[in-house]
């Protein structure tokens, strides 16, 4: 078997073995069901509202949770082995360094994708079973898009975690950097964009550039992929309001997210090749 697949299979199995995958599946299913039934509690209603509203809330939540999970699942993937002293052993085996990183990346991405599919798939199945009005093919299409984009978003951050793991000297530093990476991409980036918007007062140049600035962050691309597909009135007014005049091509958004999944990983590959051991 190809060494990349051998490493990937091991990492994938390890994520199952240490309960990552199962825990994530349960977390995703509970989140989805909780949002579906209690998401509109603030509006004074409890109970299943609409599939669109559920998906919009899930997107917002996923944009926070999935990057964090991607980082947590993989931040120690190389530096942890360095700490344990197994890295030298692995590198003494007949596989290229790139193959080791690629295998680890694929294994963790696979585990995350399986958890996403199982967790959200299960939640949708339960929703459709309990709520006959939600039984529509449209729902599966939308949740399918959500699952694929969430997996790609996860891959972006698994890739970033690999990069951090390759570049740091010990595990605690890697954990710190991973948290900073999460904060920067999930919270600070959007805050900075908002601040920019407020300070500039929304002049024409700013309005023209803003939709493209959003594409610089995979988290926002993930939001756009899901929210623009849902259309207006699904509880995503802030984002769609700011970008209303800009039509994003869904294909382009998908490709962009794919690109974002590849960039940090490719960087990690190059960095690891150059690393002195």
């Amino acid at each position: 078997m190809n060494p990349i697949l051998t490493v990937a299979a091991k990492e994938f199995r390890d994520d199952f073995r240490n309960r990552w995958t199962v825990a994530l599946t349960i977390l995703f299913a509970l989140l989805a069901l909780g949002i579906a039934w209690f998401g509109s509690a603030a509006a004074g209603r409890v109970g299943f509202t609409s599939f669109d509203a559920t998906l919009a809330s899930l997107t917002t939540l996923g944009a926070f949770v999935i990057p964090l999970i991607g980082l947590l699942i993989a931040y120690d993937t190389i530096v942890g082995e360095r700490d344990d002293g197994t890295l030298l052993l692995m590198l003494s085996y007949p596989l290229a360094r790139g193959q080791l990183v690629a295998g680890k990346f694929l294994g963790h991405c696979g585990a995350l994708a399986v958890a996403t599919l199982a967790g959200f798939g299960l939640a949708v199945a339960i929703m459709q079973w309990l709520q006959p009005p939600a039984q529509m093919a449209q729902a599966w299409l939308q949740i399918g898009r959500f699952i694929v984009s969430a997996s790609l978003l996860g891959a972006c951050f698994v890739g970033l975690a690999c990069l951090i793991s390759v570049q740091t000297a010990d595990k605690s530093r890697a954990a710190g950097l991973a948290l900073i990476g999460w904060l920067a991409s999930v919270v600070l980036f959007d805050l900075a964009l908002l601040a920019l918007l407020v300070v500039s007062g929304g002049n024409p140049l700013e309005r023209a550039v803003y939709p493209y600035l959003l594409l610089l962050n995979p988290v926002d691309v993930f939001r756009l992929v899901n929210l623009t597909a849902l259309g207006d009135g699904a509880g995503n007014d802030l984002l769609t309001g700011m970008t209303a005049h800009h039509a994003y091509s869904p294909v382009l958004l998908g490709l962009l997210l794919l690109g974002w999944a590849v960039v940090p990983f490719a960087w990690a590959l190059l960095a690891f090749r150059r690393k002195e051991v």
């Binding site: 051998t6 344990d84 002293g85 030298l88 052993l89 085996y93 007949p94 290229a96 002195e276 051991v277």
Partner: protein
């Protein structure tokens, strides 16, 4: 190709620091070679170079007939036991070897055979995290033998092993030699290593201090042999005086025996005389040890202190 490893003016520099500096040596196939030197002498650097994990800064290195730097396929023919090996604690011994065998494209049937051979068959399905230090070291040896490598690198293989396990390890090293494979063992435990090696490479501060068979090195160093004598009751003082008149200085030891340093050239002659001496009831000849040779070469007091400890 009769050399497993050939080094020609090999150098490795990290910035201004020369970890290895102009090392020229050959390691023949079918021999067990001790790689000696104090901490920081360049042993680990040399092992990483042989594994192709780092690039030489200068000189030439050939392992099994090719340059090892980034030669992934070559590593299928090399086995490596890292110093104080740790492994994925959550896997069982068998799962770990299975995984590594797949990476090395070694026949999977070897896994059980090797577990048997290093005496871990009974613990094969236990998690590696529950293994003792000695068991982990034996597991490390088993993985180093996956794929029947032509060259085996053992980095401090006996640290933490009890005497029984150490004997077992060197028994397997002996089998490898009999099989025509080359084994490079790095160790601080000179006395323990000495009976099992055919030759040495001794490094100090990145330079090659000595290389060759123990016998040849011993000849070159011409270290005196040590003779311990047990004098007949009350005959000790008289014996010392007599020996001094014959040009041999004897030093009494706390256990009542006398210690003599006998020059190599006159060893047999002196021994014959001593054997004929009625005042001596017992006699013990000690050839210069690897540790003494090491001291004489000045390979570093630190390492020798550890060897004696």
């Amino acid at each position: 190709m009769n050399h497993a490893i050939e080094l020609d003016a090999l150098a490795k520099r990290y910035g201004a620091l020369a970890a290895l500096d102009g090392v020229t040596a050959c390691v023949p196939r079918g021999q067990v070679i001790g790689l000696l030197g104090h901490n920081g002498a360049g042993k680990s650097t040399l092992i990483k170079l042989i594994l192709g994990l780092i690039a030489p800064s200068g000189g030439r290195l050939e392992v099994l007939g090719q340059s090892p730097w980034r030669a992934h396929a070559l590593r299928r023919r090399i086995g490596y036991l890292p110093e104080s090996a740790t492994f994925y604690a959550s896997l069982s011994g068998r799962e770990l070897l299975d995984y590594l065998a797949r990476l090395k494209q070694a026949p999977r049937g070897q896994v059980s055979t090797l577990l048997e051979r290093v005496g871990l068959a009974h613990a094969a399905d236990r998690r590696v995290g529950t293994y003792s230090k000695g068991m982990r070291q034996r597991l490390g040896l088993a993985q180093a033998l996956l794929g029947s490598p032509e060259l085996v690198l053992l980095d401090e293989p006996t640290t933490g092993l009890d005497p029984q396990a150490t004997r077992e390890l060197y028994r397997i090293v002996g089998e490898l030699r009999a099989d025509g494979r080359c084994v490079l063992v790095s160790s601080h435990l000179l006395a323990e290593l000495e009976p099992h090696i055919d030759g040495t490479l001794i490094l100090r501060q990145g330079r090659l201090l000595a290389a060759g068979s123990l016998h040849a090195l011993g000849e070159a160093a011409a270290l005196p042999a040590q003779v311990l004598l047990r004098p007949r009751d009350q005959a000790g003082l008289e014996l010392i005086v007599r020996l001094e008149s014959g040009g041999l200085s004897a030093r009494p030891r706390p256990d009542g025996r006398l210690e003599l340093q006998v020059p190599r050239a006159s060893k047999l002659h002196t021994l014959r005389e001593l054997l004929a001496d009625p005042a001596i009831v017992d006699l013990d000849v000690r050839e210069p040890t690897l540790a003494q040779l090491y001291d004489w070469l000045g390979a570093g007091p630190q390492a020798t202190a550890e060897a004696r400890a």
